[in-house]
Symmetry: C2
Subunit: 203 residues, 2 copies
């Protein structure tokens, strides 16, 4: 038996294998992308490698909201126009990005980094909930919008947060219309997210 | 209107946009892959950037066969055990890789780099056909296997090569059974390619 990649060379083989493990890709799509890039190796491929190295070096979580960015404080938290007193709580960074595509929300975010889960042993202290409580006082927040997925875990998390925030007296709302049962926020179209935000209801 | 990516930062935005242009990807899959990588930025992402930079710097076409590799002569052309006198002519590097996955062929390859096409103004001199003719003498080739796609352009190219090689007296065969009409070689399973190679017929 000949090793599978002996006809290409080690680095090309390793590049294909690494690409094949990325979400949504596999061996065939990885081979196709790598060949495409090698044909453009002096231009697009070298640029992509540079960009990726820079992002790997510079990307970090915003110290306030948990958004992924390239500075300690993200552009949203730094924007004084977005200090509206509204904080939108999302599960993951992908959900924040989805909300921003909708362009309906002009306040700030708080990324939990996951959902409560007894099975996966994820508790409130794993989800940046204490930091959220601190922010309500620090930022004089008047409304917390719980933009969590309409899944069992998302709703369990929402109920937990609503109870934890009750002593602060802040208004707590949740996305209403438009989020389908079992739906992941990141998979919704922008219009649905916008409609759900506009029709938000008291939790 | 807010610029689409102002919530992320320029480099993350540029990385997503570059990934989204790769074959088979789009904005959603690019965002998903970039977030996945950023979560692994110290490990997998930095490694992938390094690999990609190295391949961009070192990848080149084998001076003999046109395979993509990291040295002037590819591992197949360097392997004395593969000097069998059989040269398998393929359209693209992806087809060479597909043949190697089948593991049925133990000779060498010749990558044309495309198909003859009046429409795209691709002529014989664009396809490394003169180099193929030189190789037949240099390597004392006894059989040329035309492993070209069963498309109109692939078969036009095969007929042209068969005519151009006639004066050399070399045996010319083509893949037979198993290549479906209109089928691209790179999309066939390994077993089909192996069967087609074993049942190759005189052209
Ligand atoms: Zn932030
Ligand atoms: Zn070679």
């Amino acid at each position: 038996m000949v090793p599978a990649g002996d006809h290409r060379g080690d680095e090309i083989e390793a590049l294909i294998a690494t690409m094949a493990r990325l979400p949504g890709l596999g061996p065939r799509s990885a081979r196709r992308i790598v060949l495409h890039l090698i044909r453009r190796r002096a231009g697009q491929m070298a640029q992509l490698a540079d960009l990726m190295a820079n992002v790997a070096r510079n990307a970090r979580e915003c110290l306030i909201c948990g958004n992924i960015t390239q500075s300690d404080i993200c552009p949203i938290c730094e924007d004084p126009a977005r200090a509206t007193g509204e904080i939108c709580v999302v599960t993951e960074v992908a959900d924040l990005w989805a909300m921003e595509r909708g362009r309906a929300f002009r306040g700030r975010y708080h990324v939990l980094g996951g959902s409560l889960s007894a099975l996966d042993e994820i508790g409130p202290e794993d989800l940046r909930i204490p930091q959220l409580i601190d922010r309500i006082a620090d930022e004089n927040a008047t409304e917390i919008i719980l933009a969590l997925s309409a899944t069992v875990e998302g709703q369990t998390t929402a109920h937990y947060i609503a109870e934890a925030l009750e002593p602060t007296g802040v208004a707590i709302t949740g996305l209403a219309q438009g989020v389908p049962i079992g739906g992941e926020l990141d998979y919704l179209d922008d219009g649905t997210i916008t409609a759900a935000l506009r029709a938000r209801r008291k939790f």
